[in-house]
Symmetry: C2
Subunit: 694 residues, 2 copies
């Protein structure tokens, strides 16, 4: 249990609003919002001791006579440090700094100064340059954004405006909010502090996070993981375009394009990533308004073809199962539905669909005992102007009460169905503006249920902030040394031998077996194939001698340390396993089929290292080309578990060898008999620790 001192921020005994409260000033707007929210006691502190809107004024915090825990500061940037100092002297414990004019405008020194003053007094700062906070439990609303109804969704946001949109919609649709924090420049309180606080906040049942960057990737994952274990965490990570999608994919380093890394990180810590405010808002409504989904089987009930077919298309595209009802359910339905109703899925009652039709169909869908029951239903009503939608709404409300199942609706057009939609809302049935939005919300609910059923929690077991101090082989690492190092660290390699002359090379080939492969060993030759330093398919002793002479000849002018000889690996599938360092998250492990699959088709699985065996399996299975490994085209499947062992083991290495910056095993030969590294490239860097990640 981490005590991070945010109690005074959210539940202060009294609040001071510091800054001018003249009409038209930010301070005035903030005060008006605080009053509208209903929190008391509040005092306005400014040089003239001016009050406003019925709130008393004071020339200082001390003179106010109130036990001020929280200062809300809206005065000019150059006054903030002095104000914080006064706050500290009078026992203020937290400050929300709405004022701008700090780091975001290049005034880094000013921001450092307020951090120093706050740290000296132990004051926790939200901001500067933020849009304020909300705690609906005590009606505390020092913010410039829309005041939402109280409830159980928390919003923490690096963008005040994005949160403002969500809060506006929350007010419109009655989505209850527990807490809101716009943390602006995050001079002190950041997303990690807030996630840790919200994990234990009993008022909060769903956490929404908008981020553009995180201050510490691994701390963010740990906090998100802890929070996600307790309640759903929904994340928007903005700024995709500049990164992952445009990155060229020619080597492991650039595979770790940062958006793909964020994607992996969010999945690994159990967050649900969404891509728009609308998707986030709809999922919040679903999470607070519906029971959990047990699976992906969704029934679509409708009185019209077109919109329901489009909803089914979208549902299937999102991985929901729009399964045909089994014979038991169809038999049930045919007892009360007219003959022209379609009993498949979508279940189409036609424009003649009635209150009873909707009610009894929904009840039959959930009440009929079947092997694979439906997990949710979407009831669509597209009403022509002459149709009264109220009976349909009533039928759905009754069925929702009777079954207790996740049933959502979409009634259209708005003007024709307004009364019925209001009735649904009063009766706590969730209506979505389009069937597609309902389907997206259900699909996200299903994703979340799967997360919760088998939490894929990021584990840093055995990973300390300072990695252990083993060292890589010294000097430029030649292939035989690198292969020995792999073996010593538990990564299987083929048998190999080093030979410095023709006789030894020929003997080595006999020992490893024909056909054999021979490669040059030279600190000067990086790209061995391109310099004639590799001979494959060596069939006999004569061939071995010829190969040695060729390689020796081609290496003329370079330092020559002999050759390394392997048996040629046949009947295997070449794959790639790589390690690289991400500036936000540190070591990242990559898996792909290598070659064209990786470079041209960008078919790569990524995870923040380390991964365990199960996660390594999931990662291998996640690539599009997995079927090639699983035995497409009549091949035997490769040994997935052996391959996953290599991936998992590789992912641990950066924590044992802190100066390991990049590692490419390319190829790894995967076969039904196991997985062995065929070649390896090691790149050193500055020793890594979670402290020096940007």
């Amino acid at each position: 249990m981490i005590v991070n001192g945010l109690e005074s921020l959210f539940t202060p005994r009294a609040v001071a609003l510091i800054g001018s409260v003249r009409e038209g000033k930010l301070g005035y707007e903030l005060l008006r919002q605080v009053l509208a929210g209903g929190y008391r006691p509040v005092v306005a502190v400014n040089p003239k001791g001016q009050g406003a809107l019925g709130v008393p004024g004071s020339t200082s915090i001390a003179a106010s006579g109130l036990p001020i825990d929280l200062a809300v500061i809206a005065s000019p940037a150059n006054t903030v440090a002095t104000i914080l100092d006064e706050c500290g002297q009078t026992g203020v414990k937290a400050a929300v700094i709405v004022s701008s004019g700090f780091g975001e405008m290049g005034n880094k020194a000013g921001e450092e100064e307020i951090k120093r003053v706050a740290a000296r007094h132990g004051i926790r700062i939200v901001g500067p340059n933020c849009a304020g906070i909300i705690n609906t439990a005590n009606r505390l609303c020092p913010t410039l954004e829309t005041l939402p109804p109280p409830g159980h969704v928390a919003i923490i946001s690096q963008s005040g405006a994005l949160a403002g949109v969500l809060l506006g919609w929350a007010k419109r649709d009655g989505l209850g909010i527990s807490k809101f924090v716009s943390y602006g420049n995050r001079a002190d309180v950041n997303e990690v502090d807030l996630l840790e606080y919200l994990a234990d906040d009993p008022e909060t049942r769903v956490v929404c996070v908008y981020i553009e960057t995180v201050s510490d990737g691994r701390a963010f994952m740990a906090a998100t993981g802890r929070c996600a274990a307790a309640k759903p965490v929904i994340v928007i990570k903005a700024g995709r375009g500049e990164s992952g999608q445009r990155a060229t994919l020619s080597h492991t380093g650039s595979l770790a394009g940062s958006d793909a890394v964020y994607d992996a990180a969010l999945r690994q810590c159990g967050a649900i990533r969404v891509t728009s405010a609308e998707e986030m808002f709809d999922l919040c409504r679903a999470l607070t308004g519906l029971p959990r989904l047990a699976g992906r089987r969704v029934a679509i009930l409708t009185n019209s073809g077109g919109p329901s077919i489009l909803a089914a298309d979208r549902a299937e595209a999102l991985g929901l199962d729009v399964a045909e009802p089994g014979p038991e359910i169809q038999a049930q339905l045919s007892e009360f539905l007219p003959a022209h109703a379609a009993l498949k899925n979508p279940i189409d009652l036609t424009v003649e669909g009635t209150e009873k039709g909707y009610r009894e169909t929904l009840k039959a869908l959930f009440a009929t005992p079947v092997a694979k029951p439906f997990d949710a239903a979407l009831a669509i009503n597209i009403a022509p102007p002459y149709l009264d939608s109220m009976p349909i709404a009533r039928g759905i409300i009754d069925a929702t009460r009777a079954t207790g199942k996740p049933i959502v609706t979409s009634f259209l057009p708005e003007a024709v169905t307004a009364d019925a939609v209001a009735c649904l809302r009063e009766n706590e049935v969730l209506n979505f503006p389009t069937p597609e939005r309902a389907v997206v919300a259900l699909a996200n609910m299903a994703r979340l249920a799967e997360h919760q059923a088998s939490p894929v929690l990021f584990s840093q077991n055995g990973v300390s902030a300072a990695p252990s101090r083993s060292v890589l082989p010294a000097g430029p690492i030649l292939e035989p040394d690198a292969m020995r190092w792999l073996l010593a660290n538990g990564i299987p390699t083929p048998v190999f031998m080093v030979a410095e002359n023709e006789d030894a090379a020929s003997g080595a080939c006999c020992r490893v077996g024909f056909p054999a492969v021979m490669k040059v060993v030279s600190p000067d030759i990086l790209h061995k194939s391109e310099h004639g330093g590799v001979v494959v398919g060596i069939k006999d002793e004569a061939g071995a001698r010829e190969a040695f002479r060729t390689i020796r000849q081609n290496a003329k002018g370079a330092r020559f340390h002999g050759v390394v000889v392997y048996p040629q690996i046949r009947n295997s599938q070449e794959v790639l396993i790589g390690l690289s360092r991400d500036p936000q998250f540190g070591p990242v492990v990559a898996f792909g089929l290598g070659g064209i699959y990786t470079e041209v088709l960008a078919d790569v699985g990524l995870r923040i290292a380390p991964v365990d065996h199960a996660e390594a399996c999931a990662m291998i299975r996640s690539i599009r080309g997995y079927r090639i490994l699983a035995g497409a085209r009549g091949q035997k499947p490769v040994d997935l578990h052996a391959l996953a062992d290599v991936v998992a083991r590789i992912s641990e290495l950066p924590f044992e060898y802190p100066e390991l910056a990049e590692l490419d095993l390319n190829p790894v030969f995967a076969s039904p008999a196991g997985a062995v590294a065929g070649d390896v490239r090691i790149i050193r860097g500055e020793p890594w620790s979670s402290r020096n990640v940007a």
Copy 2:
């Protein structure tokens, strides 16, 4: 110019509403809508001669004394044939049959009967089981759906409900509609008739089409293509899920999963495919409310970070170019914007963005002379509750007028910006409910501009409804015969020779050159490799003799027609070219890299055959793996034009050989020197013509 007799449907001299007009009946609702629309003269025809809502009644059309061109029929199904007969006798030229109870309920005979009666009298039927029609030009609205304002968007829909949603939104947002037709069971008038009519309709500038199936794939393509050459055609094709995405992709036949074929067909005839009513509606607003986009460069102007970054992410994901403004524009902007404004893209004026800031920025974006000007702008305003958005709206309105450029807005939250949004609407500036929806509309506008700049029109040149009567080689087609047939039809093959004994085989290998490839020729051996019927890498005469004996031995028990010998093709890339028949569209041509790329990665280009050289090039370039052909990994690029020639020529063959059902060229060897067919499989079927496509 096709005269298809729809004039009487849309511009009748007088209308009879046939069926009961008692309150609560469909006829009553229809009459009310017709009156609300304002069309006159109308008469209600029913056995009692009952009028309603001020409209006179009559017991028959003849007795009404009006020149009735259009009958709107809402009487029970079993009365419709008799009514149509009476209609025919009194000179009625068109009928909208709203009544249901025909094919959709299994009453095929009833539907056939009304078709017969209508055909006898030359009456054009819309329906039965339809939601009616609208022509806003003469205020004719016999429909059960919402009545929209007049304008230039036509909607033709296989789903009345889907169109009803669009019409509801059109009324809400003031989108003007020219014509609407719900064609129901399409007993007579279908999507092809309507597309042909709308292509020449001067009131219609944008055509929206919702289809689930088409009655004749090639006629649909021809009509859509003609229409799309004159005005934008936006299509929703519903029912994706059951088909393309789930189809297994193991051979060319199933590659032509019908959704992928529809996708290809729509692209080939110049339609813009969208996937939801919302996307269609937004694009209609953009097309009727904005000038054309000249390209994909979009500027995003904002007063807040988060929502604009998400908009930029979406824009980039959709292929828009959110380019940084050039130095000329940035210099211009810095003259009037404050120092803390971000001049990149998104251009962020911060929450202090003013009327002048928005106006002058938009003007500078479009007025500053630069090499690559912006093609459109999205102006975002996310307003906290205290902010008055009216000045920002005014700034944008001024700039839109001054520049005449495609500028769209997104103002949020709704409650805070309602006045400003109303002001934008009054001044004909398009505001979208979210920045993402604005971006999707702009991306679709850009797609459309590209279609129009280089129309990819489906050509059936040289393709007659009855293909020419050439015949395939008789009997089971052995490889040498198939290869000769390819050669005779202009498809390059390698040199090849047939040999029936060992001496001849050895000689043939010498003639074609070493290394050589030898394959068995036997009507009993389909899968040659699996039966030991192929030897590759034959290096010399001895090898050739050994290969022949091996193949001969392996073919024991099968009829043996000798071997076919080829030179081994090296330094080439294997690709696949296939032909199959789609039940809706007939011959379809497929191109892919073959093997795992096709089977596992489903990376295939499809087109309705035939394609010309340019379209074949586009098709080859469209696959994800194209970079492999274009010279990835230091290879020389293959000869794209030679390959496209083969694809184009293959695509013509089904029209010369009507019984050619499937053709697989797998592999085709593509190299910098050209493209040759390496193997071929021919499957005969029922002779094809566009008449016997389902």
